[in-house]
């Protein structure tokens, strides 16, 4: 760190002297000096680490006497052949679908309706932020209490309206739903503000024009607002996707991947192979695989979006 700070000061000083004395070179040097600190930290704390992980993935990694036996792509073949991996892939996909169905649209809907609310709008916007400030895992713990089938709040309340009792995390068919559901309650947090700002920046003329065309207020929401915020939705979706595909903390605290692997996802498998089974090589191979999957998906989405433009 110290080095980087010095480097930075150095940079500034050099940059200043240079611009004064050798103005002709400024275009060549300034961007580099501006970029340098970030380039370095990204290299050290991202690329070096992922390369290290790739390196580890090529070995039957021995933590005591690293790196152990070289196995080439053996680790990759091994996990691809493992039934558990495909269970994890399937679960990851189901989680993804469930999250889109249950969680992703929530902030969009919240923002859409919020944009129609005139009185105390700012107050509601603040209230929307509150559920999001609870640390994720504290929230998960809270939900775990509420799901408890012996004495949890949920079955108690649902029984009052004649529903249940449900097994929640004790029901193999409900586990995934129970893990995703808190996201619906928590809502969008900052995303709401984002969508809201996007909606507010749609020009009033568009609405007026639609109105003159005889569009009712409900229809306007669909045909004016939604198309105009698709870019925001896409950007959000990209982040959401990698978030869901890599989600770890909430599942881990809720079920540790159980029961009977019903909620085992790839990120958990990465952790499990490393810290439970001490198979660091396979774990690293899995991580790199996930990195590639998400990178490809992201690039594809941006391509699609570009074609749309």
């Amino acid at each position: 760190m110290g080095n980087q700070l010095e480097l930075k000061q150095d940079t500034v000083i050099r940059e200043q002297t240079q611009t004064r004395t050798r103005a002709t070179f400024k275009i060549r040097w300034t961007p580099i000096l501006f970029l340098l600190p970030s380039l370095i930290v990204f290299f050290v704390f991202k690329y070096y680490l992922i390369f290290d992980a790739i390196y580890i993935s090529l070995f039957n990694y021995d933590i005591v006497n690293p790196p152990g036996n070289f196995v080439g792509l053996g680790n990759y073949f091994e996990f691809l052949k493992s039934a558990t991996f495909w269970v994890a892939m399937k679960n990851t996909l189901i989680f993804f679908v469930l999250s889109v169905l249950i969680v992703f649209w929530v902030p969009i809907a919240q923002a859409l309706f919020l944009s129609q609310v005139k009185r105390w709008n700012a107050f509601y916007r603040v209230l929307y932020q509150i559920p999001g400030v609870l640390p994720v895992v504290a929230g998960v713990l809270l939900w775990k209490w509420m799901y408890n089938p012996d004495r949890g709040l949920f079955n108690y309340l649902l029984a009052k309206i004649g529903l249940g009792p449900y097994g929640w995390l004790n029901d193999l068919h409900m586990t995934k739903l129970a893990i995703v559901l808190p996201g619906f309650f928590t809502g969008g947090g900052i995303s709401v503000l984002l969508y809201y700002a996007a909606i507010k920046s749609i020009s009033a003329e568009l609405f007026e024009a639609a109105k003159i065309d005889g569009c009712g207020p409900w229809r306007r929401m669909v045909i004016i607002i939604l198309p105009n915020i698709t870019f925001v939705i896409l950007i959000q979706f990209v982040g959401f996707m990698s978030g869901v595909l890599l989600s770890f903390d909430n599942i881990f605290v809720m079920t540790q991947g159980g029961p009977a692997d019903a909620s085992l996802v790839v990120a958990l498998m990465i952790q499990r192979t490393a810290f439970v089974q001490s198979r660091f090589g396979i774990s690293a191979a899995l991580s790199f695989f996930m990195f590639i999957v998400i990178a490809v998906l992201t690039i594809v989405q941006f391509r699609l979006q570009k074609e749309d433009d």
Binding site: D62, A83, A138, N170, G189, G239, Q256, P259
Partner: protein, 488 residues
């Protein structure tokens, strides 16, 4: 932007606690009450081949070490044994640290806090980074993992040359031995059994704990009927589920795995005994309906249910008494009993405990110092002083010791005699945990959870599926490694 990117993951309060739960898929933890399953002494012989290299390194170190002399300059060692701030024995332990320092001016001990419940992940990361402590302790099942991985140093010569060796009870070193080499110094031991709430039993008019599977189910039902809101038996269905399940397999007359004469492993998940045991698990949940509904809660929550009187029976260890009394349970209510016998008519208890282990990467001088330090805490004087301190401070004393010359019974003042009798009774027939548990645990948990959660799941089918998967992913590889190792 709740879910931007995967980098700065919103983190968790509890991740760590649970990480440890799964860390080595074993059950031991630093907490006494959670200390868990033992491993099979014989098993370690087999893990050897795969990691032959590590083993050799360790033994070279140790050999160099044995010839060393004490007239050295100050040796600094790091030991993960700093007690937690709320440890009732903190003052005593620190006093003993000081005493050791005074007696051993040439050994400088750095005590590191290692009382966090999930210290194992830190331990492994530290080892991975070459910063493992010179001395640390590990539960039986952990030893099974650490020895073949080369994390525990070979201390055969040090042990054999130590005058203290014969002070340990017979066979105490077996569980930390492999191929005739010793890797750990025994610390403590416990035995498992059925713990029941006498008051809840009395309410149901039951005088004695159940002796058979049938009685167990009937008693649980009776207790539930007479004590509204109480669960008959808290079953363990979370990630250590195989730990308690193996007892039932033993009771049904079998085991989950076996080691063939040539050293290779064979899975017995589909054996008659295993299927019967799982069927019984299924019946407890679905036929007799005597378990808690939340079968995916962890052992801590099961214990909480028991000590707060919400469940009448639980599987525990000889050390559980102190734990439950410390959580406010009336000592008179806590009963210990040998497990109910299954179809085989037998009900062996499981033996568990922990070892101290040295770091193979430490210098010979450090290993020597660490060994001396570890032995200091196994001395008779130390243990007597500790026993007295515990008595004076109203702390519980564990009813077992690994030392011959330390009479633990003179310090057990507050544990009811019938509890001790039952513990001793239970300890007459002891079993070690199933062979290769650390690698197979996660495969077994799945069928157990399946039958506990799905009324239509068939035990035999689920076990067969688990066996096939484990065979393919673990056993085939293990046996192949073993054979190729043998050919070397």
């Amino acid at each position: 932007m709740k879910k931007h990117g995967g980098i700065n993951k919103p983190a968790s309060v509890l991740v760590a606690a649970t990480i440890v739960a799964g860390l080595l898929s074993a059950c031991g933890s630093e907490k006494e009450d959670n200390a868990a399953g033992a491993n099979n002494a014989a098993t370690q012989t087999n893990d050897a081949a795969a990691n032959a290299n590590a083993g050799t390194d360790a033994s070279t170190n140790a050999a160099a070490n044995a010839g060393d002399n004490a007239a050295d300059p100050v040796v600094e060692i790091t030991v993960w044994d700093q007690p937690s701030p709320d440890d009732p024995g903190k003052s005593f332990i620190e006093e003993q640290f000081a005493k050791f320092d005074a007696d051993h001016p040439n050994i400088k001990v750095k005590h590191v806090e290692a009382w966090q419940p999930d210290v194992r992940e830190k331990f492994l990361t530290a080892v991975a980074g070459g910063e493992g402590p010179d001395l640390s302790s590990a539960a039986f099942p952990d030893m099974q993992v650490y020895i073949p991985k080369g994390i525990a140093a070979d201390i055969t010569d040090m042990v054999n040359n130590s005058p203290d060796k014969d002070r340990f009870i017979d066979g105490a070193f077996n569980l930390a031995s492999k191929d005739g080499k010793i890797y750990g110094i025994p610390n403590d031991m416990y035995t498992s059994g059925l713990i029941y709430n006498k008051k809840l039993f009395a309410n149901a008019g039951i005088a004695a704990p159940p002796k058979t599977w049938e009685e167990f189910a009937a008693d649980a039902q009776a207790v539930q009927a007479k004590n509204p809101g109480v669960t008959g038996f808290d079953i363990l269905g979370m990630d250590w589920a195989d730990w308690h399940f193996e007892y039932y397999v033993w009771q049904a007359g079998g085991d989950l795995t076996e080691q063939l004469p040539d050293g290779t492993a064979k899975l017995d998940f589909t054996s008659d005994a295993a299927v019967k045991a799982l069927q019984y698990y299924k019946d407890l949940k679905w036929k007799y309906k005597v378990t808690q509904k939340n079968v995916v809660q962890d052992i801590g929550e099961n214990e909480k249910d028991f000590y707060s009187g919400r469940s009448a029976m639980i599987i525990g260890t000889s050390d559980s008494f102190t734990n439950f009394v410390g959580r406010g349970m009336d000592p008179a209510d806590i009963g210990f009993a040998p497990f109910p016998a299954g179809p085989s008519g037998k009900a062996p208890a499981q033996v568990g405990g922990s070892f101290s282990m040295l770091n193979p990467k430490s210098s010979p001088e450090q290993q020597k110092a660490a060994f001396e330090y570890a032995m200091y805490f196994m001395s008779k004087d130390y243990n007597d002083a500790l026993g007295q301190f515990k008595v004076d401070n109203g702390l519980g004393v564990r009813p077992f010791t690994v030392l011959k010359d330390f009479d633990v019974t003179q310090y057990i003042k507050d544990v009811p005699q019938d509890y001790l009798d039952a513990v001793n009774e239970s300890a007459k027939d002891q079993h070690l945990e199933y062979f290769l548990k650390s690698s197979l645990s996660s495969y077994l948990v799945k069928p157990i959870q399946k039958v506990l959660l799905d009324q239509n799941a068939d035990p035999a089918t689920e076990l067969k599926k688990a066996q096939e998967l484990a065979q393919k992913e673990v056993i085939d590889k293990y046996n192949a490694d073993l054979k190729s190792g043998a050919n070397k």
